[in-house]
């Protein structure tokens, strides 16, 4: 049994369409799983559902999410919140908006340790210094006293990574953590996340639309289309021979994996039609 188990999770917009269709996936300790799909495929919603930050307009129709064998739904709200806070952490997409502009960086790293886990302040600060060192930030004391606007985007993402690992979480959810960054910084950040994950041996769910990134750091991946799992496999066999026609087309639409002689091919219409038909069949099967 994996640390994170998502089983048959179905979400819908209140009085609207489904956005996830019976999604199941698991991430084990030390495993890096890519969650791949086009924008709008619902991949970020899975992260939000795990973290308990779904927008109010979205309803959970069915399914369960468990951490370390405990079904989160069975816990009282306060206990659930604290359990998630202690065991799961998020590396957000946009480092420019994910730090509170009116608070210094230091407390934003230590607040989970002090307020939720009850550490004393000096211990939490020592831990933050250690983490900033781990993410290769020189002069941690100065950085902890800074305000976010005084730091660069890459620097802020390093801080958010340090903050995510602060409480030694069992699971990290990285929601497209490099999309908002410069290409040159992207690589460093990606390497850093992988390095931190190795060192702390955490489970990592890496949400991305970029198969190139998946090939570099993930051992396994889940491909999502219109909220439905299209393929769930390990990275090696996926890149050797993707099982689903949509996956094949997706792979061909990714620059790195296409022969440079070949022009990039968008996902062909007949593949899209076929996968749309699968989704429709699924909905019919539920009688919607």
């Amino acid at each position: 049994m994996s640390f994170l188990e998502v089983e048959n999770l179905t979400l819908r917009i209140a009085r609207g369409p489904r956005i996830l269709r019976a999604v199941s996936l698991g991430v084990d300790q030390g495993e890096v799983r890519g969650l791949v799909g086009e924008s709008g495929a619902g991949k970020s919603m899975i992260g939000k559902a795990i973290l308990g930050t779904l927008p109010r307009a979205i309803q959970v129709v069915s399914g369960r999410i468990s951490l370390d064998g405990t079904d989160l739904q069975t816990l009282p709200a306060r206990e659930r919140r604290r359990r998630i806070g202690a065991q799961v952490a998020l590396i957000p997409q946009d480092p420019l908006t994910a730090l509170n502009p009116v608070r210094r960086v230091g407390p934003q790293i230590t607040n989970r340790l002090v307020d939720i886990l009850g550490w004393d302040r000096s211990r939490a600060e020592a831990r933050a210094r250690e983490l900033l060192d781990e993410v290769h930030i020189p002069d941690p004391d100065r950085v902890m006293r800074s305000y976010p606007h005084e730091l660069s985007g890459g620097m802020r993402q390093r801080i958010l990574i340090a903050s995510a690992f602060a409480a030694e979480p069992k699971l990290i959810i990285a929601d497209e953590p490099t999309t908002a960054l410069d290409v040159t910084v992207q690589k460093q950040i990606l390497r850093l996340i992988k390095e931190m994950q190795d060192r702390h041996n955490t489970a990592l769910l890496f949400v991305t639309h970029d198969l190139g990134v998946v090939s570099k750091i993930c051992q396994s991946l889940t491909v999502l289309y219109a909220g439905k799992v299209i393929e769930d496999t390990d990275t090696r066999s996926f890149f050797a021979a993707p099982g689903h026609p949509y996956s094949q087309a997706l792979l061909h639409a990714t620059p790195k994996y296409t022969d440079p002689e070949d022009s990039l091919t968008p996902v062909p219409q007949h593949v899209i039609d076929a996968v749309e038909a699968e989704v429709t069949d699924f909905d019919k099967g539920l009688g919607a």
Partner: protein, 336 residues
């Protein structure tokens, strides 16, 4: 140092505004048709008596000359002598200022508490009936001015359920001898809690009347600002850390949402101070506003001038303080 330059520019603009206000008041009150001097003298005074008294108050010179003389006096801290009360204007005005300041600040504190509580509750219970009820309440509170709230409060707490004093600042029967006119403040320092309680009982209704519209504005602006902030990434990130919705609002959203609200509250607070004029009259509270209305009715030119300039000064100082607080609270400006 752009921060310092901004402050200096604001100070310069403030001086221009004050000068303009002085000119306008000076001209307006000298068009007054009634002769204030004639009203001071007993019937049967001769033309000669009137002329002598006019010369004494400098009212025989041209408006321009009078203004230059008055301005010269102001620079030396001399605002002239009240015609009806025959005392230096500065002493009279400074004697009443503490009463008005205490009333305004008490109203501000009440407004911040009520308005803040409404905004926080509305954000916590957003998109529910509670929020709708808060919206309707603040809409009503805002539509009706302080004067009417004062009258309604008199009916409620002065007549139907008479628990508070409806007129005056302090009960005359109380025996106390304070150094300053800041009674509320000094009563605490001297541990005279009987005096303090009596003052609060007198101030409760007028300050609440002044506070109601401001509380409504704070509730509306702060709630809107909070709700916008609640969608931002750093708020979501705080939620994932295990904070409850209430602490997410107070710890992460509030410090940011307060900033845009603050500048608007500054202007609204000057409106509140302006409102003390009629509210003090309504509750016979011995402050500047009440004195101002008497001064107008008695055509006491030097006193009117002094009071209006003091109000203008108060307004501009409030705006200046708000601007500086904003800059001090906003780390982006502080380090710019």
């Amino acid at each position: 140092m752009p921060f310092l330059r901004t402050i200096l520019a604001r100070l310069a603009a403030t001086l221009v505004t004050l000068f303009g206000a002085a000119v306008i008041v000076f001209v307006v009150i000298r068009v007054v048709p009634g002769n204030p001097i004639a009203m001071m003298l007993p019937p049967g005074a001769t033309e000669d008596d009137i002329a002598r008294l006019q010369a004494l108050y400098g009212l025989d010179k041209s408006i321009f000359e009078q203004f230059v003389i008055w301005l010269g006096g102001v620079v030396r801290g001399d605002f002239g002598t009240s015609i009806s009360l025959r005392q230096p204007v500065l002493n009279l005005v400074l004697g009443r200022l503490p009463a008005t300041l205490e009333l305004s600040i008490m109203a501000l504190v009440i407004a911040v508490f009520i308005g803040g509580a409404m905004a926080l509750t509305g954000t916590l219970r957003r998109d529910t009936r509670t929020e709708a009820a808060i919206d309707v309440t603040s809409g009503m509170a805002l539509s009706v001015p302080d004067f009417l709230w004062g009258l309604i409060l008199i009916l409620l707490f002065g007549v139907l359920w008479p628990v508070f004093h409806i007129s005056g600042r302090v009960s005359p029967s109380l025996d106390f001898d304070f150094q300053t006119q800041f009674y509320l403040f000094e009563s605490v320092l001297r541990l005279r809690f009987d005096v303090w309680a009596d003052l609060v009982s007198h101030m409760f209704m007028p300050s609440l009347a002044l506070a109601i519209p401001l509380a409504a504005i704070i509730s509306q602006l702060l709630k809107q600002s909070l709700k916008e902030t609640m969608h931002l990434d750093y708020v979501t990130l705080a939620r994932t850390k295990g904070y409850s919705e209430a602490s997410v609002i107070t710890r992460e959203a509030l410090p940011n949402a307060v900033l845009p609200t603050l500048t608007l509250i500054g202007v609204q607070f000057t409106f509140l101070i302006g409102g003390t004029v009629i509210i003090e009259r309504l509750f016979s509270y011995e402050g500047l506003g009440n004195m101002a209305i008497d001064a107008v009715i008695n055509r006491d030119l030097p006193l009117i001038q002094g009071i209006v300039i003091l109000f203008a000064l108060l307004f501009t100082v409030v705006n200046l303080v708000v601007d500086m607080t904003y800059a001090a609270l906003n780390p982006r400006l502080r380090h710019a």
